[in-house]
């Protein structure tokens, strides 16, 4: 066994090991129950994630047994996951006075990051499922944190829904094993070609349920609005983003064969993914316009963005498509995290995120309201912000493939529907902006307490990133070389 441990390429697993050590360290510190150490948990977690992020990119592609394959794509995913987790943990340290048990909160965030890491680095269906389960456990905790009635209700819905999706995924995994005799992606790819008939397609669809749930795609999107609305915004900031990164990269790994990359996926696979993507984008756009709560609007935005992500993944395993997926994850992640952190500040003042409650926020906290508008406009895809460039990457790939081959024309149609949905979604984002900036305050509010420095730093970093990545036009080629 010692020899087997010796053979493990631990240098590639440094981030995961650091996260595990951080988990235990936070637990230990939390058990001391010293009042001065109240924020120690989030700080420890934040520092650990930041340090782990420095080791996220592997020097060379490494495989860890038949389970994990840490290549450039997994390395980028880990970097993004850990960076975002570090930002949120720093913000948690600043907002610890509003959280019951910051140490437990930090543990949940670190566990979430660990699970997403695992799913992103997987080359085998089992670590994907394991990672998604770890994400799920941590997510349930974060959603129901605080024990308020709405949060507990949201957590319950999340658990029930997530449990079903998880069970379906395991069911599909068993079929996959039965048909191909292997859980490894390399062995499973035969199912894509259709050689196993309807049974193979069913197995793949069932196994994909867990991923669709984490990406909040139709028809696994129903949990998102209620869960996002009831949960505290600080927790949702990671729950909305990190699982999407893990699931998207896991799916991309599965679809990427070894050896020379083909120009596109098989037409049937691409069309199916594009269809789900288009429907998700349309649902996310059209149902969002009737929402009257800030967090619900962001939930439907998440559904729409999940659709756009899936369209990028459907554009196939080519390097440009992988770069587009990574860039989209980057821009969506930072904007979403920033938006929810701003909402957390605004919720803290009033206790609710309905549009009437947010009205006139710019009078109480002008900078936070302006930053929230910035993040929301980036999510809407308005140039010259990062979200526009992310969307550009997806559309570039989709239209390119549609024009290159007749069979892949559905990708182009899906891209057009995505454009249509984004315009409709823009109306819902603007409702949020209108409430924040244009609407008069419902009543005179007491002057707001100034924000702690770590939170200000985090928001500044997020804002600079959202503007800076929007101007980073060479990002696609840079990412293409990385992944």
């Amino acid at each position: 066994m010692i020899a087997a441990l010796d053979a493990l390429p631990l240098h590639a697993l440094v981030p995961e090991l650091l996260l595990v050590m951080a988990l235990f360290a936070i637990l230990g510190v939390d058990l001391l129950r010293h009042p001065a150490l109240r924020t120690a948990g989030p700080w420890l977690g934040g520092v650990a994630c930041a340090v782990a992020a420095c080791f996220a990119l592997p020097a060379a592609p490494t495989t860890v047994g038949p389970m994990l394959a840490i290549d450039g794509l997994a390395g980028f995913a880990r970097l993004l996951i850990l960076a975002l987790a570090a930002l949120v943990l720093l913000a948690t340290a600043a907002r610890a006075h509003r959280i019951d048990q910051p140490g437990a909160f930090a543990m949940a965030v670190v566990a979430l990051a660990l699970g997403a890491d695992l799913a992103a680095a997987a080359s085998n269906l089992l670590p994907v499922w394991l990672g998604l389960e770890l994400i799920a456990m941590a997510s349930y905790t974060l959603v129901a944190f605080g024990g308020e009635r709405r949060a507990a209700e949201a957590g319950m819905k999340f658990v029930l829904f997530g449990g079903v999706a998880s069970a379906l995924m395991l069911f599909g995994a068993s079929h996959v094993y039965g048909l191909t005799g292997s859980f490894e992606f390399a062995g499973m790819r035969g199912l894509l070609g259709g050689g196993f008939g309807p049974a193979g397609t069913l197995a793949l669809l069932l196994a994909g349920c867990g991923l669709a749930y984490k990406l909040s795609l139709v028809p696994f999107h129903f949990y998102a609005p209620d869960v996002y609305q009831g949960a505290p915004p600080l927790g949702i900031s990671v729950v909305a983003v990190l699982p999407k990164i893990g699931a998207a990269v896991a799916l991309l790994h599965f679809l990427t064969p070894a050896g020379p990359l083909p120009a596109a996926l098989p037409a049937a696979v691409a069309t199916g993914l594009a269809a789900i993507a288009a429907v998700s984008a349309l649902v996310g756009g059209f149902v969002a316009v009737v929402q009257r709560d800030g967090k619900r609007i962001l939930a439907f935005s998440g559904i729409g963005h999940g659709g756009a992500l899936l369209l990028a993944i459907a554009c196939g395993p080519a390097t440009e498509a992988r770069a587009a997926v990574c860039f989209y994850l980057l821009t969506y992640g930072i904007a979403n995290v920033g938006a929810f952190l701003c909402l957390d500040v605004l919720v803290g003042d009033r206790g609710a995120t309905g549009l009437d409650a947010l009205a006139g926020a710019w009078r109480r906290r002008p900078v936070v309201a302006a930053l929230l508008c910035l993040f929301v406009l980036s999510l809407a895809g308005i140039p010259p912000l990062a979200g526009f460039l992310g969307k550009w990457g997806v559309l570039q790939q989709a239209f390119g493939l549609a024009m290159a081959s007749r069979e892949l024309q559905p990708l182009g149609v899906a891209a057009l529907l995505l454009l249509l949905a984004s315009v409709v979604a823009a109306w819902s984002y603007l409702l949020l902006v209108r409430a924040l900036v244009l609407a008069p305050a419902a009543s005179e509010a007491p002057p707001a307490a100034p924000l702690a420095l770590p939170l200000r730093l985090v928001l500044a970093v997020a804002a600079i990133a959202v503007v800076g990545f929007g101007l980073w036009l060479d990002g696609f080629s840079w990412l293409g070389q990385l992944v």
């Binding site: 406009l377 036009l473 060479d474």
Partner: protein
Amino acid sequence: MSAALASCLWLPLLLAALCFVLPATASRWLALLGSLATTLVGGLLLADFAAFPGADFRAVVSAPWSTALGASFTLGVDGIGAAMLALSGLITAIATIAAFRQERFPRLYHALVLVLLAAMNGVFTSLDLLLFYVSWEAVLLPMLPLIGVFGGEQRRYAALKFFVYTLAGSVLMLATLFGLWHGTPAAGRTVAVPPAVLAAHAGAAATTLHGLPVTPANGTTPATVQVPRGFDVRHLALQHEAIATTPFLGLSLATFGLLAVLLACLVKIPAVPLHTWLPHAHVQAPTAVSVLLAGVLLKLGVYGLYRIAIPLFPHAVRDVAPWLGWLGLAGILWGAVAALGQRDWKRLVAYSSVSHMGFCLLGPASGTVVGMTGGMVQAVTHGLTAAMLFLLVGVVYDRAHHRDVDGFGGLAKPMPKFAWLLLLASLASAGLPGLCGFVGEFGVLLGGFTGPTPFPAIAGFATLAVVLSAAYLLWTQKRVAYGPLAHDDHGGFADLDRRELAALLPLAVLAVLVGIWPKPLADALQPACELLVQQLHGGRP
């Protein structure tokens, strides 16, 4: 001069940032400085085109932006662009003078106007389609708070409607960008250059065209040029034959592209029936923002037709030209009839804008040189007259705090200068010969009468609009300015003060000047319009 052209983009942005650093009273001077700088550059370029007419682009600036996206930072103007740039700067300066005493959040207000100026300049000067699209969308960002924060009672609804309406119109243009990119092979393609195009842009025996080497004509084979893949509008215009035959999602790329660009432009112009955002936005916006909207923003749509739609998709434009003509006529008549029935003065002027911009659509649709030139002249002169009218409405609103046309009467007594300028603006807008409005309208109508069927019929009906516009404008003049004083407290109104005169007089002088001596403007615009007409009719019989 190309450096000066680039400064039209970065200087307003820099000044906008400075607005938040310097004291609040400095921001209006910064805005004035930025807009006057643009006016100077635009005016010099326009004078250059007037003195030395030519169809080629001048003051071209080209810097690589992103090789990955194929975008470059390419700016340049021809006669049309120079006229629009000058108009953009002048109207922004006028609007800044009108808002000189802005008390609520002056820093934010003037910074937003400067950002808007930079975006408008970006649209008018960019020769790169991606930069054009980004600038087109970027115009919406400052307009949202300008209407939504500083506007009237229903400002929030108007701002949102304006934003989403325009966004929806331009979203297909983004899809067209990708189609154009992927429609060109990665290594570029070799296209034949028509001798007329070569002569107009570079000279008959030139060896380079738009920075590309030209293989000269050799007996039977025409001159060819190797065009790289990219978003440069001049290069894409050379490839219009290939664009027309490239398939895109079941249609030809030219058809899809034209529909997309047309949708975006028709929303902006605004063409009936896509005009419903305009009355709201104009009425709810503050005076200076209405001036900007009517004076410049509506012209973005016309410019898009001239710069993008006709050069890139000429045959498709020719195919839909009759429809465009009928749409223009519908706008002309609908706007005029609607204006007749308005009681809110600002709404009346807004509908008159819809009516006059219909001429800008009819002109290029007719496919004649005089029509094409007339349409662009109308765009420039409408900018001047609409700005004047909105300013005058604002003058009265500042004093009376309402805009009901029937609630005034006899204002010429306490405010004679105002009444005189209102008469001048009304006659100029109605198209009295000798004032600026006549030049554009006459050009468009002449183009219609000399164009192919059904344009003579369309122009015939459009001539009715001249009567209608005289009707609603002069009737308003009568109701507001002439007759006995309707309300005694109106007798105490102060006449135009120095600031209001400073805003109105330049426009009044230009309205008369362009009316009696339109030659410089027409000389500057004509060569580019001639080239566009040649592109429309060239090639396919």
